[in-house]
Symmetry: C2
Subunit: 197 residues, 2 copies
């Protein structure tokens, strides 16, 4: 019974069997209502969670708070891999458009093809009109690039403006330790400098 | 709803809000039976867990597997702080006696007094007869030492032999970085050497 709970925790990403044991024994020291609250919180979430019918972000309602917010720019759609990426971009407070959550990236190795992702619904959104720019904000990996290219081919005839987030040296990175591809790209894609970043 | 689940995970020791979010979103990607199995595993464990009536180790039965094992030496009792310590000592395969799980150590700072621990039941076990040696295997901390001393005073008139686990330099530790107390103790408590450790 202890083993069963530990095994369940050890299935979580980044949780080894020792940490799993520590977490389970911690829970065992809590009172019954606290343990119930913990266990039920994920079951309830999984059972009742909804996804926004427009952007596929997680949502408590049919349309998520971002898509329902009329002060945001609905003509700009930022394409991201997952919910965490929406949160990360929201945290920058630099983006006032809306999102489109793909639910992953194309990865033949992991058996993820275009039909497993919310790409067709993105094409539909663009075809529906009102969208001027699609920002591709996928991870700068081979899978991300493959997905970017696939979306590009699907949307290139739609007339929508397509952009990709800037790639370059990260804040506080040391230049000498930056990889060649990134450094090379940061020089090619240099931007005008007016005395302040 | 997402926040609720994340908050529940963030209550676990060593799990910050970012990790909690990652774990919850991982679970959200699993199917319903998997999430049910995860959530129910801890609830079931908490609801149905038993503790050994002899040594207070976690157990599926009235008496735990160690206490019920007649091939073990029931005249030697190793006093430990918690269940993890039993597992750690069992993993060494160096101990064939039985255990007594205190459920903590005396720690006035945390409001833990002797009556919160399984000390009276240890005194009772010793008074019950049949026990020749009590090994004190608590952590070498101030709280552990306080608890060791408290147990010593409670048992000194019982005639039972009391020992404490050896303290000294740890395997693979570098001597120059070992603290003075440990190094000093390792010299005072040196043991006869016959050519092999």
């Amino acid at each position: 019974m202890l083993e069963k709970a530990v095994n369940e925790f050890a299935k979580l990403p980044g949780i080894g069997s020792k940490t799993a044991m520590r977490l389970v024994l911690h829970l065992l020291r809590q009172d019954m209502p606290a343990v119930e609250a913990f266990g039920q919180s994920v079951i309830t979430l999984k059972r009742e969670v909804k996804y926004c019918s427009v952007c596929h972000n997680i949502s408590d309602t049919e349309t998520c708070g971002i898509c329902a917010d009329m002060r945001r720019d609905h003509s700009t759609v930022c394409v991201v891999e997952n919910i965490q990426d929406v949160m990360a971009i929201e945290n920058t407070q630099q983006y006032k458009g809306v999102y489109h959550v793909l639910g992953g990236v194309i990865s033949p190795m992991d058996g993820v093809g275009p039909s497993d992702l919310q790409i067709q619904s993105l094409v539909g959104r663009v075809a529906g009109g009102g969208i001027k720019e699609v920002i591709l904000a996928l991870s700068p990996t081979m899978e991300g690039d493959t997905t970017n290219f696939y979306i590009y081919r699907k949307l290139e005839d739609s007339g929508v403006r397509m952009t990709v987030i800037a790639r370059g040296v990260a804040q506080n990175d040391e230049l000498q330790y930056t990889d060649e591809v990134t450094l090379g790209r940061s020089i090619v894609n240099r931007v005008a400098f007016n005395g302040q970043i």
